[in-house]
C-alpha cells in the first residue's frame, strides 16, 4: 500500500520534476534568490555604498542599525561571491522549504536563523576577539543548512565506512568548513562556524521551540488562502518524502528521460536523420561556402618562380629520340630496354634493370624495369625525385611521346648543376605492375622470390612525376591523375604546384578527373567531386604514380589531352618547372592536406569539412545498435506495461536478461564465412570468375533463407535475439566503417550508403508480404547485385571487374575486396536473416526480473 502511494506520488510529481530545476523552485527560495540578485545589482553602482550600509560590522551594530542583522546575508562582495553562494544555497534552501513549508522558512530565516548566528558572531568577534571584521553573504545559511542536513544524515546513516574505520557522517560539514577556510580567500571562518553551530543545534532539535507553532501558521494559511494565491507556495501540510541518505529516485530529468518509453522510438528517426544529413552534406560541399580555393602551403616550393630553359635545340634531340622509340615499337621488353639502356648510358647516367613476375587470377604479369640515376651535383644522395614513364599506359597505348621526352629531359637535366636531389628516370613495361615492383623493391618490401632487388639505389624518394603522353598531335591541356591505391592521395601542394606551373606560368589548361571542360559551376564541381570519390572508393591504381603513394611518396601522372597548339617542349617545361620546385624542398611535403576532395583544379574541401558526412552515415549504424541493445533489455510484451497502474508509467520498465549466445554465434558465423568469397574471388583463374560469380550470386540469394530456416527450426530465436543479432551486426558495421572513414573516406561513405537500409530491417512476424518486399529490396542492394549493376553501368564485364579486383589485391595490396566481402557482405547477410526471421510469439523469459544483465 505504502509503496503504491509512493509510486503515485512519484508519478504525479514526475511531470513537474521533469521540467527544469529552476521552474520548480519553491516560493521562499525564489524570494531569497531574487533578493540576492537585486542586492547585487544595486551594489554595482558606485554612488551609494550598499556594502557598508548592509554588512554585519560588529562596531556599527546598535539599536538603530539592527537591520544589518537581516540584510547581511543578501549582500555579497562581488559577483563571484554571490554566484557561489547562490549555487550552494539554492538546493539546500529548496529542500528545507519544501520540507517545512514556505511560511515556516520565512519565519525562521528572518528570525532565529539569521539573528542567532549573528549574535554569536558579534559576541565572539567583539567581546572575545576584540576585533571588528565585517561579514556579509549567504554562506552563513549554507553552513547552517549543511549542519541540519548532516545531523539528519547522521541519524539515518551514522557512519561512512572506509575499510575498517567508521567516520561519523555529521563531521562532513566540518570538513567542508575547513576546506573553504583554507581554499577561499577572505572567507570568514568564524562566521561560517557560527552558522554551522546553529545548524547542529537546530538539527538536534534544540531550536524546535523557536519555530512558529503549526496551528497558527495553518490558520494564517487558511485565512489568506495562500496556497491558492501564491504560485510555488509550499504549504505546511505538504510533507515531502525523506531526502536524506540514499533514496530510491526516479531521479534527475536525464534519468527520467532515459526511462521514458518514447525514447526508444527516437533512434530509427535519428538514424534516418543521420543518413539524410550525411547524404545532403555531400551535395553542399561544392558550394562556395563550404569549399575553399587551393593555395600553396609549403613556402619552399616556389612554383613557377624560375625561368624554364627547356626548348630550342632540345626539340631536335627529342625528335631524334622519338625516331629511336618508334623503331622500338612492337619489340619485346628486353629489346626495348637494351636500346634504351645504351642511350641512357651514353648520356653518362648509371643504369640498372629489375625483373619482376606477378601472378593474379591465373595470369602472369612479368617484365623488366629499366632505371637510371642522375646523381645530384649539389646533393649527398640522401634524397631523390623520380620521373616515370611506362612503355604502355593504362589503356595499353604506346607512350609514344612520353618515353622520348623522358630521354630528352634526362639529357637536359644532366647539363644542369643546380640539382640538390638525385633524379631517377624509370621506364616500366606497363603502368601498374612495373612501378609497383620497382617501388616495393626500392623500399625492400618486395617478395624477393618473384621480384628482383634493386642493384642501384639512391636516397629517400621525395616525389614522383609520371608522364603518360601517348597523344600524337599537339595538345591543349594537361590532365592530372592523382588517385593512389586504396584512395590515398598525394599532398595537395604537389597538385597545386603543377596547376600553378602549367596553368599560371605556361598558360596550359589543367583538368582533373577527366573533366575535359569545366565551367566551375555547381554541376561540374559536383561531377568532378563524385568522380573523384568513386575512384577513391574503388581504390584501384589509376596510373604509374599510384604505387608510389602508399610509400608516402607524393606522385601524380601528367597526361596531355585535347587539340591545341602546345607541343612536347611545353610538356617538358612543365616537368622541368615541377622538378625545380621539388628540388627546392627542404623537407618532405607535409604542409598541405593529404585528405581532400578536389572539385575543380583550384577548389577543394578538406577532411574537416567532408568527414562528418561519412561519420554520420557510420554513426547511424552505431546509434541503431545501441538503441536495439537497450530495447532488447526490456520486456517485449506491451500488454503487461498497460496493465500496470498509470502511476508507475515512468518507473522503470522491468529489464530482462539477455540471451547472448545465439546472436553472438550467428554474427561470428556470418563474419567467418566471409573468408569464402574473399578467397574464392581472389584465387579463381580469370576464366572461372564469371561462372563463380554467377554461382555465388545464386547461393547468396538462397543463403539467408537457408540460415533463417535453420535458425527457426532448431533454435526458434525470440524477438530479443533478433534484435541482438541486428544490434551486433550494426555495431560491427559502424565500427568498421568509422575506422575505414579515416583511411578511405569515399569507400566508407559508399558502403555506408549502400548498407544504410540494413538499419531499418526488422523481422515481420505478422506480414509475409512485408517480409518478402524487404527481402527483395535487400537483394537489390546486395553486394553481388551492386557489383553486377556497377559493371553493367560502366559497360564492363563482371569477370573483368573481378579480375581487376584480384589484380589490385594481389599486386597493389588494394583492400577494397576485403571491405566488400568481410565488412559489407556479413552485415548484409545478418540483415537478411533478421528480415526473414520469424520470432516466437511473446515469450516471458524465466530469469528473475528487475535486473539488467550484460
Amino acid at each position: 500500500m505504502r509503496s503504491i502511494s509512493f509510486g503515485a506520488f512519484l508519478g504525479n510529481n514526475s511531470n513537474l520534476r521533469a521540467r527544469s530545476y529552476v521552474n520548480r523552485l519553491p516560493l521562499f527560495t525564489r524570494g531569497v534568490l531574487v533578493a540576492i540578485v537585486v542586492f547585487w545589482i544595486v551594489g554595482v553602482q558606485s554612488v551609494w555604498d550598499l556594502r557598508t550600509w548592509g554588512a554585519l560590522v560588529p562596531d556599527l551594530v546598535g539599536l538603530s542599525s539592527l537591520y544589518r542583522l537581516n540584510t547581511y546575508p543578501f549582500i555579497h562582495l562581488n559577483f563571484f561571491h554571490a554566484l557561489m553562494n547562490v549555487l550552494a544555497l539554492v538546493p539546500l534552501l529548496e529542500r528545507f522549504e519544501s520540507e517545512h513549508g514556505t511560511l515556516t522558512s520565512l519565519a525562521l530565516f528572518f528570525g532565529p536563523f539569521v539573528t542567532i548566528p549573528s549574535f554569536m558572531y558579534l559576541f565572539v568577534e567583539k567581546v572575545v576577539l576584540r576585533a571588528n571584521t565585517p561579514v556579509m553573504g549567504a554562506s552563513i545559511w549554507v553552513f547552517l543548512l549543511l549542519g541540519i542536513e548532516a545531523i539528519r544524515t547522521y541519524k539515518l546513516n551514522p557512519y561512512l565506512v572506509v575499510g575498517t574505520h567508521n567516520i561519523p557522517t555529521w563531521t562532513s560539514p566540518i570538513a567542508i568548513l575547513l576546506c573553504v577556510a583554507a581554499l577561499v580567500p577572505s572567507s570568514s571562518f568564524l562566521g561560517h562556524l557560527c552558522g554551522l553551530a546553529v545548524g547542529y543545534f537546530c538539527g538536534l532539535g534544540y531550536l524546535k521551540y523557536l519555530a512558529p507553532p503549526e496551528k497558527i501558521l495553518r490558520w494564517i494559511e487558511g485565512k489568506l488562502n495562500l496556497l491558492g494565491r501564491l504560485p510555488h507556495y509550499v504549504s505546511i501540510d505538504q510533507k515531502t518524502y525523506g531526502r536524506f541518505g540514499v533514496l530510491p529516485s526516479s531521479g534527475t530529468s536525464a534519468l527520467r528521460l532515459r526511462r521514458d518509453p518514447r525514447m526508444l522510438k527516437v533512434p530509427p528517426y535519428l538514424s534516418l536523420l543521420c543518413i539524410v544529413v550525411g547524404a545532403v552534406w555531400l551535395f553542399l560541399l561544392p558550394l562556395n561556402e563550404y569549399s575553399r580555393r587551393t593555395y600553396i602551403s609549403e613556402n619552399a616550393l616556389l612554383p613557377g618562380q624560375v625561368h624554364t630553359y627547356f626548348s630550342g635545340s632540345d626539340q631536335h634531340v627529342f625528335r631524334a629520340y622519338k625516331h629511336e622509340v618508334n623503331e622500338l615499337a612492337g619489340k619485346t621488353n628486353i629489346d626495348v630496354n637494351d636500346r634504351l639502356e645504351s642511350i641512357v648510358k651514353g648520356l653518362g647516367l648509371k643504369t640498372a634493370r629489375q625483373n619482376f613476375t606477378y601472378q593474379s587470377a591465373g595470369r602472369v604479369y612479368s617484365g623488366e624495369n629499366l632505371y637510371a640515376i642522375l646523381q645530384a651535383p649539389r646533393g649527398d644522395a640522401t634524397e631523390a625525385i623520380v620521373l616515370v614513364g611506362a612503355w604502355e599506359n593504362v589503356k595499353g597505348e604506346l607512350n609514344r611521346n612520353g618515353i622520348p621526352l623522358i630521354l630528352t629531359l634526362a639529357r637536359y637535366f644532366k647539363r644542369w648543376s643546380l640539382w640538390s636531389k638525385d633524379i631517377i628516370f624509370l621506364v616500366t613495361p606497363d603502368s601498374i605492375a612495373g612501378p609497383q615492383a620497382w617501388v616495393d623493391a626500392y623500399h625492400d618490401a618486395h617478395d624477393s622470390s618473384r621480384i628482383n632487388s634493386l642493384p642501384l639505389k639512391s636516397g629517400l624518394l621525395q616525389g614522383a612525376i609520371a608522364l603518360d603522353y601517348a597523344q600524337e598531335t599537339r595538345f591543349e591541356s594537361v590532365h592530372i591523375v592523382y588517385d593512389g591505391i586504396n584512395g590515398q592521395l598525394p599532398n595537395l601542394d604537389l597538385i597545386n604546384s603543377v596547376v600553378s606551373i602549367a596553368g599560371g606560368q605556361m598558360g596550359i589548361g589543367v583538368a582533373i578527373q577527366e573533366m575535359w571542360h569545366h565551367n566551375d559551376q555547381y554541376p561540374d564541381r559536383l561531377r568532378t567531386m563524385l568522380r573523384g570519390m568513386l575512384k577513391q572508393g574503388l581504390g584501384r591504381a589509376s596510373g604509374p604514380h599510384s604505387s608510389f603513394i602508399p610509400y608516402h611518396v607524393d606522385a601524380v601522372t601528367l597526361q596531355p589531352f585535347g587539340d591545341g597548339w602546345q607541343d612536347e617542349m611545353a610538356m617538358g617545361r612543365v616537368v622541368e618547372g615541377t622538378f625545380r620546385s621539388l628540388n627546392n624542398l627542404l623537407e618532405h611535403l607535409h604542409q598541405s592536406f593529404f585528405f581532400y576532395l578536389l572539385m575543380q583544379r583550384e577548389r577543394f574541401v578538406s577532411i574537416g569539412t567532408y568527414l562528418p558526412s561519412a561519420m554520420l552515415v557510420a554513426a547511424n549504424f552505431t546509434i541503431m545498435a545501441i538503441a536495439l541493445w537497450v530495447k532488447s533489455g526490456y520486456a517485449e510484451d506491451p500488454s503487461t506495461a498497460k496493465k500496470q497502474p498509470a502511476s508507475s508509467k515512468y518507473t522503470s520498465t522491468p529489464a530482462i536478461e539477455r540471451n547472448l549466445f545465439l546472436p553472438l554465434g550467428v554474427i561470428t558465423f556470418c563474419q567467418s564465412i566471409a573468408i569464402i568469397p574473399l578467397y574464392l574471388f581472389n584465387h579463381a583463374p580469370a576464366a572461372a570468375l564469371p561462372p563463380t560469380f554467377l554461382l555465388f550470386t545464386i547461393l547468396n540469394t538462397a543463403l539467408p533463407h537457408l540460415l533463417s530456416h535453420y535458425l527457426t527450426t532448431y533454435h526458434s530465436p525470440s524477438t530479443q535475439q533478433h534484435q541482438l543479432i541486428k544490434s551486433f551486426s550494426l555495431l560491427l558495421l559502424g565500427m568498421f566503417l568509422s575506422s575505414l572513414a579515416t583511411l578511405n573516406f569515399s569507400l566508407a561513405l559508399l558502403i555506408g550508403l549502400l548498407a544504410s537500409p540494413l538499419t531499418f530491417m526488422r523481422p515481420w512476424p505478422g506480414s509475409a508480404a512485408a517480409r518478402y518486399t524487404c527481402t527483395l529490396l535487400l537483394n537489390a542492394i546486395s553486394p553481388t547485385a551492386v557489383i553486377f549493376a556497377g559493371a553493367k553501368y560502366w559497360g564492363l564485364e563482371v569477370g573483368e571487374v573481378l579480375e581487376q579486383a584480384a589484380f589490385g589485391w594481389d599486386v597493389c595490396g588494394m583492400y577494397t575486396p576485403v571491405v566488400v566481402w568481410c565488412v559489407w557482405w556479413p552485415a548484409w547477410l545478418a540483415g537478411s536473416v533478421v528480415t526473414l526471421g520469424r520470432p516466437k510469439a511473446k515469450e516471458v523469459p524465466p530469469q528473475a526480473k528487475g535486473e539488467k544483465d550484460l
Binding site: L247, S249, L743
Partner: protein, 425 residues
C-alpha cells in the same frame, strides 16, 4: 567422481583447442608472428620479443646484453631462451614454450575461479554468488580472447609475468603463502610493477590461511612474508648478477621502467606526455606518475578489505591503463579476471558502452597508427587520441566493476534497498 572426470576431459579439450589454434596461427601464417611482434600495441620496449632476440644474440656472443640499450628485460630470460634450440632454425620450440605458458596461466585461472573466492571471501559472502561461471568458462574466455592470442603470437615476454601473477593469486587463494610469495617475487622480478600487488595479495593469503588454520600473529605473518619476497628477489638478483657479470641490469631493466627513458609509442598514457615534457619537469612528473600508479594500492586495499581478490582485479585493470609500458597483454590479464565477477555483472551499468569503446579502439588504434607512421597523413596526436579512448574504455570497466562490487556489498548491509536505483547526494 564421474563429473570430475568429465570436467577434466573438457578442460583437456579446451587446452588442446587453444594450443591447436595458436599452433595453427603460428604455422599457417608464417608472417603473422613477426607482424604482431612489430606492433606497438603488443610489444613494448620492456616486453618485445625482437629486443629479446637482440639481447640473446649479445648474450650468446659473450657481450653484455644491455650494451646498445635495446634490451630492457630481465636477465634470467636469456639462459631460458638459450636453452631452447635456436629460434632461427627451430622456432617451434619457442612457440611451444609460449603456448605452454598461456596454458599454465589458464590452469591458474581455473583454480582461482573454482575456489569461489570471487563470490564469497572470508569476510564477505555475496548473495548473488550462485550465478557464476565455472573455471572452464573463465579459462576459455581467457584463452580465446583475441588480445591473449595476439600476445601469444606476438611472443611478448609479458606472458611470463601474467602467468606468475595468476599463479601467485591461485596459490594465495589456496592458502599457500609461501608459493604465492615466490610467484609474486618472480612476477616482480620480471616486470617490477607486480610488486604493487603485494599488499592485497598478503591480505588474501592471510584471510585464506587464517580460515584454514588460525594464524597467531598477523604482524609476524606480514613481516615474514615480506621478508620472503625480499629474499627471493635478492636471490634472483644475485643470479642475474652472476649471469651478466655486473649490476648493470638494474638500471637497464627497472631503471628504464622507472625513468621511462625509452619513449617508443605504446597504448599507455605516458609516452606522449613525456615526449612533450621539458626536461626540467621530467623527474617531478615521473614521481607523480609513479605515485599515482601506486596510490591505488593502499586506498583499494583498505576500502575493499573484505574482498582482496577484487582489489587485485581492480589493480590489474588500473595497471593496464596507467603503467609506464602497458600493452594489450595487460588488458588481457585484466579481462581474464573480470569474468570471475559474473555474479555482479547484473549490477554493472555500462557493459555495452565498454564493449563498444574497447572494440572501436581496437580497430581505430591500428588505423590511426598506420596513418601516422606509414601513410604519413596523420600525426602522433591521432594515435594518442585513440590510446586515450582505450584508457577511457578500460577505466570505465574498472569503475563499473568497482561500482558493482561495492553495490553488492552495500545491498548486504542495506537489504531494503535491493533492486532500487540509487542517487548519491
Amino acid at each position: 567422481m564421474d563429473g570430475a572426470k568429465v570436467t577434466l576431459g573438457r578442460t583437456a579439450a579446451l587446452y588442446a583447442g587453444a594450443a591447436v589454434l595458436r599452433l595453427a596461427l603460428f604455422t599457417l601464417f608464417p608472417g603473422l608472428p613477426d607482424l604482431l611482434t612489430g606492433r606497438v600495441e603488443i610489444s613494448t620496449p620492456v616486453t618485445s620479443f625482437k629486443r629479446l632476440q637482440e639481447g640473446l644474440f649479445l648474450y650468446n656472443h659473450n657481450v653484455s646484453p644491455y650494451d646498445g640499450g635495446v634490451y630492457h628485460q630481465a636477465p634470467l630470460f636469456l639462459p631460458l631462451f638459450s636453452l631452447l634450440p635456436s629460434f632461427a632454425t627451430l622456432p617451434i620450440f619457442t612457440y611451444l614454450l609460449y603456448i605452454a605458458v598461456d596454458l599454465l596461466s589458464a590452469s591458474a585461472l581455473i583454480k582461482i575461479a573454482d575456489s569461489g573466492e570471487a563470490g564469497s571471501s572470508v569476510h564477505f559472502t555475496s548473495p548473488r554468488r550462485e550465478k557464476r561461471w565455472s573455471g572452464f568458462i573463465v579459462a576459455a574466455v581467457f584463452l580465446f580472447n583475441p588480445f591473449t592470442i595476439a600476445t601469444c603470437i606476438g611472443r611478448s615476454t609479458s606472458v611470463f609475468t601474467t602467468a606468475a601473477i595468476l599463479h601467485a593469486i591461485a596459490k594465495a587463494v589456496a592458502g599457500a603463502p609461501f608459493s604465492a610469495m615466490v610467484a609474486i617475487s618472480f612476477a616482480s622480478y620480471l616486470s617490477l610493477y607486480p610488486l604493487l600487488l603485494l599488499p592485497p595479495l598478503l591480505i588474501l593469503c592471510y584471510d585464506r590461511r587464517n580460515a584454514l588454520k588460525p594464524i597467531p600473529s598477523r604482524y609476524n605473518f606480514a613481516v615474514s612474508n615480506v621478508a620472503l619476497v625480499v629474499g627471493v628477489i635478492a636471490v634472483l638478483f644475485q643470479m642475474s648478477r652472476f649471469l651478466t657479470g655486473s649490476w648493470e641490469f638494474l638500471p637497464s631493466t627497472y631503471g628504464v621502467q622507472l625513468t621511462l627513458s625509452d619513449l617508443t609509442p605504446n597504448i599507455g598514457l605516458w609516452w606522449y606526455f613525456f615526449i612533450e615534457m621539458f626536461d626540467s619537469f621530467r623527474s617531478f612528473f615521473l614521481a607523480v606518475f609513479w605515485l599515482h600508479l601506486s596510490c591505488y594500492v593502499g586506498g583499494l586495499s583498505i576500502r575493499i578489505r573484505r574482498q582482496p581478490l577484487v582489489v587485485l582485479t581492480l589493480l590489474l585493470g588500473l595497471f593496464a591503463i596507467f603503467k609506464p609500458y602497458p600493452s594489450i597483454s595487460d588488458a588481457s590479464l585484466f579481462l581474464a579476471m573480470v569474468p570471475l565477477y559474473r555474479h555482479v555483472f547484473p549490477l554493472m551499468r555500462y557493459t555495452f558502452v565498454i564493449a563498444a569503446v574497447i572494440m572501436y579502439t581496437t580497430f581505430l588504434g591500428p588505423a590511426f597508427y598506420h596513418l601516422w607512421i606509414y601513410a604519413g597523413s596523420g600525426n602522433a596526436n591521432f594515435f594518442y587520441a585513440i590510446t586515450l579512448v582505450w584508457g577511457l574504455g578500460l577505466s570505465l570497466l574498472v569503475c563499473d566493476l568497482t561500482f558493482a562490487v561495492l553495490r553488492d556489498e552495500w545491498e548486504v548491509e542495506r537489504p531494503e534497498m535491493v533492486g532500487k536505483d540509487i542517487r548519491q547526494i
